[in-house]
Structure formats: C-alpha cells, structure tokens
Subunit: 406 residues, 2 copies
Amino acid sequence: MSLIVQKYGGTSVGSLDRIRAVAEKVMAVRGEGHRVVVVVSAMSGETNRLIDLARAIDPVPSPRELDVLLSTGEQVTIALLSMALESRGCPARSYTGGQVHILTDSAFTKARILEIDHRKILKDLDEGRVVVVAGFQGVDAEGNITTLGRGGSDTTAVALAAALKADECQIYTDVDGVYTTDPRIVPRARRLDRVTFEEMLEMASLGAKVLQIRSVEFAHKYGVRLRVLSSFEAGEGTLITSEEEVMEHALISGIAFSRDEAKLTLRGVPDRPGVAFEILAPIGRANIEVDMIVQNVGTDGLTDFTFTVHRNDYEQALKVLQKTAAELGARDVLGDKQIVKVSLVGVGMRSHAGIASRMFGALAREGINIEMISTSEIKVSVVIDEKYLELAVRTLHSEFGLDAAA
Amino acid sequence: MSLIVQKYGGTSVGSLDRIRAVAEKVMAVRGEGHRVVVVVSAMSGETNRLIDLARAIDPVPSPRELDVLLSTGEQVTIALLSMALESRGCPARSYTGGQVHILTDSAFTKARILEIDHRKILKDLDEGRVVVVAGFQGVDAEGNITTLGRGGSDTTAVALAAALKADECQIYTDVDGVYTTDPRIVPRARRLDRVTFEEMLEMASLGAKVLQIRSVEFAHKYGVRLRVLSSFEAGEGTLITSEEEVMEHALISGIAFSRDEAKLTLRGVPDRPGVAFEILAPIGRANIEVDMIVQNVGTDGLTDFTFTVHRNDYEQALKVLQKTAAELGARDVLGDKQIVKVSLVGVGMRSHAGIASRMFGALAREGINIEMISTSEIKVSVVIDEKYLELAVRTLHSEFGLDAAA
C-alpha cells in the first residue's frame, strides 16, 4: 500500500464539475489500495479576483493582510473537494496550511516552508480518510497566515510528500508531461517517460514552464519522486527522479529555449584584473540579474565584454552600462534585444564528448550564426538571432534523435 | 481611555466603499482616544454564495467542511478592512477565529463559544493597533474550524467584549436602535435610548429581530453593555444594559408581536391529573415547541385544553393531536392558523398592578376579542385574530403613552 500525494492546480479544480472529476480520480487511486493526500490550489480566477479586491482597497496592500485574504482561495477548494468525496461515501478531511502546521518563515507573499507537522495527516490516513490540504499557504512561528507565492501549491505538495515519506508526488496539470521541446514549435516533440531532477531544473529555468522550479529543487533535495500528469487525459505522465532511477540515458533529453533574452556589449575596455567586477557590480546594484557572460581575449590591452539579461531589464541595464562605459573610458556600448537562447539538456552528455561541436555543426549547416556560447555539465546553450529560433530548435531536435516516429 | 468592541454586519461591509466607510468610522473612534476591537461579518451575499456552492456539490454537505467553507467569508472581510485601515495610516491586524483561539464546542454549523484567549488582542491594543476579528467562527479543541450559526457575529462581539472586559459592545446594523414597536405598523413608534436585557430578550423572542437572542443572553450573563446603532446614520442608538443602569423606567418599554402563531384545542378530555402530560408528550416527541398553554376549569369531569405552536408546525401538530384525542376519548380537536400574539413588555410593570386589565380594556373598546392570555414578570401576551394585529398594536402603543410627540 503506497502513500501518494496528488496536487491539482487551479485549472484542474476550476469549476464544480472539475472538482467532482478530481474526487472521482482520487477515489479511483484509493480504490487501488493506496493512501492519498491531495493538495489543491484556488479555483482558477479566484486568486486574481481576490487580488483585485485588495488592490481596489490599497494599490500596495499590507503583505500580511494580503496573505490572510489570498489563503481563503485554497480554503474554499479544500472544503468543496472534501464535501464531494464525502458525498460519494469516501471519508475525507480538509486542512488549511495552519491546521497541519505548515510552518514557514514570516516573508509574507513569498514565505518558505520550514517544517510540517504530519501527525494529524498520518492519523487520518490510518483511520482510512483521504486528507485534503490547502496548497500555497502556511503559518509562521507567531501563527500569522503566510503564502508561498504563485505556484506555491507545487511546493506544498512536494514538502508534504517529503514529510510523509510518500512513495510518489503527482502533480496534475493541463499538460500530460514533460516534452523533449515545445510541441508548438516541433510537432514531433515526444513526451519523456523519465527525466532527472538536474535535467528538469535546467529545462524549467530555461523556459519550460511545467513545474515551479522551487518544487523541483525541493523534490531533488529530499529525494521525492515527482510525476507530472494531465488532469484531463489518462496517461503515465513524466516521472522526475534521481539519476539512478533513470536507467538508460538518452544523450540529450530535451531542447529548451527562452525568448526573453537581451544582450549587451561593452567594447574596448581596458583588459586588467577586476574590470569584470567593475562592469557587473553596478548592474547587480540595480537589481538586474545577469545570465550568460563572455569576455573575449584582448588585443592592444583592450577587450570586449558581453552579457545577457532578461529582456524586461534591457533598457535599464543599457543606461547603467553607458555610465560605466564613460567611467572606464570604454570605446562604446552595443545592445541587442532580438536574441534568444537555445539549449541542449541531458545528463547523458557528461559521458560523451563532442556534443557541443555536433550542435554547432548542425546549426552552421542551416546558416545560423552563434553569438554566444555557455556550457555546464548537463547543458550547452547558445545565443542566436531570434528569427532562427524555430529553425534551430527543429534542427537540433532531429539532429539528436528526439523526433517521435512519424 | 475606554476599550470598545464594534461589530459590523454583512450589509455594513457589503461593498468596498462600505468597508472604506467602516475604516473611517473606526478611526474616528480611535481618534477620540479609545482602543478599538472590530468584529466583522462576511460581505452581504457572500455566505449565501458559498452555501450555494456547497449545495451544488452535496445537498446536505458535511457540516465540518461547510464550516471550513463558510469561515472564508469573514476572513475576506477582516483582511480587506485591515488593509483599508493600514492604507489610511492606522496600524491594524486581522485575526481569524482560530488565530485568537475562540474555542468552541464541536457542534459544526452551530457551535457555542467556550473560551477566548485575549492575550494576542491585548498585546496588539497595547502596541496601538486596531484589532479586526472574524465574527461567526472559532475552533474546537482539536483545531477544527467551527461556525456559530447565522447571526453568530453578534455573539462573537459580545464574547470578545466580555473576555476583554470592554466598556461597551457596539453592534452596527441597518436600523438605528430598538423601537417601542415596528415603525412599519406604528409610524409614531419611538427609538428607545435604553432598554434592559430582560426587556430586550422578551422583545427579541417575540419577534423584534434586531439582535440575535444568544448574544443578548451572553451580554446579560457577563454584564456587557450592548449598544445597537446604525452603520449609515449618526446617533446614539439604543443601550441594552442591566436594570440598575436604566434609571427611570417607563411602565411599558415596547409592544412586541408575532405572526407565526397557530392554536390547537382538544375539547372534552377527562379532567384528571396527568392529562396535560399525556397531551403534550407526543407533541414534544415530534420535536414541536409549544408556546402558550391554557387549560380551562372543567365541568362534568371534562375540560378543554388549548396551546399554541409555530405556524410551520401546525399541520404536524394537528395530526399528532388527533391521534391523542382518539386515545383519550376526547370530544374533538379544533385548530386555528389565523391568530397572532401581541405582547406588552416592560420591567416597569413589576411594580404596577392593573397593567393587564388596562390592556384588556383598551382592546375591548376596539372590539378585539382575546382568545388566550399569558403573563410573565415583565410581559403580558394575548392571542387575537390576526386581522386585528395592526389595530391592537396601534391601540396599545397609544394607551401606554409610547407614541412619539406629533
């Protein structure tokens, strides 16, 4: 008899009919002999409705009170789902974050989970109940209601699965798993049966928005087997797990990409120790995150320095950099917002040389110029002109054998 | 510096504008140097919306889960009101029933308050904050969310006032106080400045629905000065307090009435000890509450027995009584649904004889036949034909000098 934690997001509980469907799903799993804990989000639209009420009262509402307000969204769902289960003869009990003491720090609207008291839940499971827990919320040490920020319900589910030593944490969503790349760009993209935590983290941070990154990190840290499934279709979904459990590694698991990139270059800066710090420190002070960084080998004691930022931060970064350029006596500042990042991700590449060069060769054959390169143990990223995005993703998807059988 | 507990009902917080207006009102009282605790209901309509959701899931939803659901209504209001106060520079903090540990029994949907932990509230007041508490809700000893039933926010306010030893508990509502009778029937009805708990209880139970009876009982028991005021108009409202504080007693404080009455008579029953029990026991077993009871002096060893019930229970009571009549060999059963009860209420009548006869004389002069009479220390009630209701109330209102100056 396994213990399974299931999480259903806002779309999955977005109407009374969908809540009823979730109840049926939960009972089916219970009928197979499993013990089930369910984590739910607010019904879709509800959190935005509450935020609108708050903003109408105060454009910048008190964070403590915002959390008191927003936490009602999940509380409505846990009650309705528990009623639906009970009305079908399935014993169930709902709990708010506070009631099962999901202890967090006091960072209202973006709190972090510190500890969970699982005794109540285990007692209910032992007595044959399904336990329904409000996602996204907790309490701090003083008993104040806190929320974990958008997407926090995934984290609640993983944290509960870790605390309860669950056999699996299933995240039900509106996609049926993790794909080799975005099927809207590559129709022959394949759903992955399994992927490692490391690969999932690289894919998520590179723009594949299936799971909240924090929940993947959490699952990785506590060794929680995580499965992404569709609420609306049958299927096994994708299991995200440790490397040992993914037996046969494909060379490459997927192609991730991000459109939200912009590139800045400072040309002709003095090539001396500490100059990188002098360039990037003011950017950091402006709260702008830097992603890729490249410094070319200098000639004549001068060098060029290039980095990428989120496209939303481009204008501000440009302003900061122009000031720095003047101070350093650099030749000029160049910028480009028409770029994207495309990445190969796969733990398999650790043991295979030549992945990067094979990637560059495939892109070159299509006439795609590579503007920047960055590598880590399990990924190779390139920055290219945004007009080549789809072509590059499709090319690499075939090159590395990811296409589904026609 | 007084400590005041204010309670605002659903209509008073029924929109964002009204919540803003409540914030202004609270700040005005605080500006006069008082410490303020505010109890709020759900925004009007919200509780019904939630009940509709629950009923769509299950016509008879789990009571425990219904309480989890309904308690979100007040939680939304406390957050919004606290935001409104903070946005105006007034330090405020909201608490759910569970957070200030309003401990109740476990009778979901109609729980009773057992105890309140006032330490958090006093600490906040000492630190200069307005404290905003969700009405209508609490937690049981196991930490389950409970609600007190409709109108329970009044009880929350009174219980908090008792626990905090507040100087006054102000109930803001959509009427500006307690009246000598219903102004829709007697346009010259007057607002009472003061009324005793006992009078208020008699008036409330007789149909003057300003305050929930339980909250008046609670205030009486713990000696909480209770004031009913309008949320929408200025004014002193009506103070409900102990007899000692109501210095000059009017003979009669008000005329209460109830339309929901029905009368049943068993004629020609054997006049022997225990027959009243034999008649009423089956009625009690059918869960029907009996109000007034009259047994006439018998002749020929037979007597007539009459009692009143709520009009909704009339048909069922009649059925039960017909069975009893057959068993007892009574002559016949009569019933009448076209009756009403009119009552004089006033602590002043304790010390004045002749109130009842003056009442009967006034009604007789208008040709109104009295069908039943019942008296207690501070009230005289008569049952009359319902067509005379308005005439009787107006007549008595003048007779006992309650009319406002023209």
